[in-house]
Amino acid sequence: MPAFLRRPDPRALPALLWLVLFMVVPCLLLFAYAFFERGTWGGIVYTFTLGNFARVFDPLYAGVFLTSARIAATATAIALLIAYPAAYAISRAPRRRQPILLFFAVLPFWSNYLIRTYAWIVLLNREGLINSLLTSAGYTGEPLSMLYTEGAVIVGLVYNYLPFVILAIYSSLSRLDPQLAEASRDLGAGPVRTFLRVTLPMTLPGVAAGGVFIFVLSIGNFVTPALLGGGRFQMIGNLVYDQFLTANDWPFGAALGMILILLMLLLLTIQARLTDRAAGTRPPAREEAA
């Protein structure tokens, strides 16, 4: 048990209370629901069963998990490939210009999630901006069907979560002593080997934090697949949504949600371990005693 839970600082009590009441208790309720049966017309019949978890492994639903994981993993990979160079460029800009660059990187986030997603519909549909531009550029073939594809869902996820990934990687990069890269160059490593041997390993905690962030939020996302996937792509989020609001099968929805939460906890634990192990970020032993 972490030290702060064994003897909580009274100043943390309001936050702790908030967390317990509105996060831990609902999660435990959800966890409990998952072990009961559904009533014939919805609701919950308090008979213990493991059937809900067994259903999760039904190929039909397991397939949704796999699709969700694949889409989330692809979005994560693309976001990391875009975010790392961007964060690197920002961290190497003159120090007084960095806040404004970060502001622009995060700017889209301040607009409404739905509006941002609808904007992509405007861009991607058959009569949309991209197809119009292609036509006016002399393209005469069939308009491209970009909307309601897996690609559109991935684009939407990457676009929506990119700012956080940039921020996470930037925070790692900005704490990196630029002299380490210079030392590497001085010792005979070119720019590429310096990046692979020093810069990247030293900023892996930021990459892990940003990666886990977008992966966890993507795999459980249901708005983007509904809007940009056109309902043709079921992701776990949509499945959970359907169980609670359409199928009225709360226990099964709870079981799906639990699996999602456990997956998230697993990933966050791995990420925390990675951050811990990264040298230089662990406080020396004498500071732990304080």
Binding site: E182, D186, G280
Partner: protein
């Protein structure tokens, strides 16, 4: 010594501008093979920029750098046969001591057994063997400093550049490391270029010292040269302790100040200052010298430093005399001092 050995590392008119600021202003220096050379100056004098140009991290605005006759000005840092020991050490926090030291050899794509042998060898020389598997954050300041040194030396560079290498160490350790570095330099036979703002450090360690101020080279010479024959008033003041007495030099080359009248052969007429080291000021027989009031006595073990003010003009002065010498007046009393003419230097004021 041959001319080539005298011009082992040649700096030709090196200039560096940062925007409108000129950090280094036309510095030319010839460094000899295997010498211990110090770049000395107050902070902001351009010495670190000069070192970074040698390492390849800054491109000179003007000028050239020649190593053994070969122009290396355009070479990238990773291609220069020079290594830099960073002031902050810049050890890789995610690697052990042994991995840090091996890094530079791995970049040369040497065979594994050779890397292992050379790392072991340098760790033995620098007493680092017991710490081979530690990470940098588990080392003391002195140990980190030795890792940084070993990491640079294991590459067997033609020139080792050291940026304020002892700055982060406490006084005792610093004094020991000064001698240690000097011994090491002698052993490995590599040209050392050290940057420091500590004149004592430069005097103790270096074979020759270049003194910089505002990006310009003021003087270059042996420790004895710069101490005994400072080129200008700044150098005289910066190196060691120096007394200054303001006065005037007349057309007959005589320096006069209240109660002082000395021959100043060769000095141009005009307002001037007389410069003399505390150890060169002598005590005189009563009535024979310049009267001065004793203000304070500082005991330094081997000798004492007397702080006096000249009675006629109030100029403060220090004298360094053996601790056992008889001293009649107490603090507040009057004594007489002499300024031996051959020990006096004159600078225009």
């Amino acid at each position: 010594m041959t001319a080539a050995a005298d011009r082992f590392l040649a700096l030709e008119g090196l200039t560096k501008d940062f925007g409108a600021t000129r950090a280094v202003d036309g510095i030319s220096l010839d460094l000899r093979r295997n010498e211990f050379f110090a770049l000395l100056g107050p902070s902001g004098c351009g010495k670190s920029t000069l070192l970074r140009m040698l390492a390849g991290f800054e491109a000179p605005t003007e000028g050239r750098i020649l190593l053994d006759g070969q122009d290396i000005t355009a070479l990238k840092p990773e291609r220069r046969p020079l290594n830099l020991m960073f002031q902050s050490y810049a050890l890789f926090p995610h690697m052990t001591v042994a991995r840090n030291i091996a890094y530079g050899l791995e970049m040369e794509r040497l065979a594994k057994p050779e890397i292992a042998a050379r790392v072991d060898e340098i760790m033995a020389v620098t007493d680092l063997a017991p710490f081979a598997d530690r990470k940098p954050d588990q080392l003391s300041g002195g140990q980190k400093q030795r890792v940084a040194l070993a990491r640079a030396l294991v590459k067997r560079p033609r020139v080792l550049l050291l940026d304020e290498p002892l700055g982060a160490l406490d006084r005792k350790l610093r004094e020991r490391m000064q001698l240690e570095l000097k011994r090491l330099q002698h052993e490995v036979g590599i040209t050392f270029v050290i940057v420091t703002h500590d004149q004592e450090e430069a005097l103790v360690m270096a074979d020759r010292i270049a003194i910089l101020r505002d990006g310009r080279l003021l003087q270059c010479g042996t420790p004895e040269d710069v101490y005994q024959r400072p080129a200008d008033r700044f150098v005289a003041n910066f190196i060691g302790t120096m007394n200054f007495v303001p006065g005037v030099i007349d057309a007959g080359a005589r320096f006069t100040a209240p109660a002082i009248d000395l021959a100043a052969p060769g000095a141009p007429p005009g307002r001037a200052v007389l410069a003399i080291r505390p150890e060169d000021v002598a005590l005189a027989e009563p009535g024979a010298g310049i009267p001065a009031t004793l203000r304070d006595i500082a005991y330094h073990g081997l000798d004492r430093v007397l702080h006096v003010t000249l009675s006629a003009c109030g100029t403060p002065l220090q004298l360094r005399i053996p601790a056992r010498a008889d001293l009649t007046p107490a603090v507040g009393g009057t004594l007489h001092i002499a300024l031996p003419p051959d020990r006096c230097t004159f600078f225009p004021d």
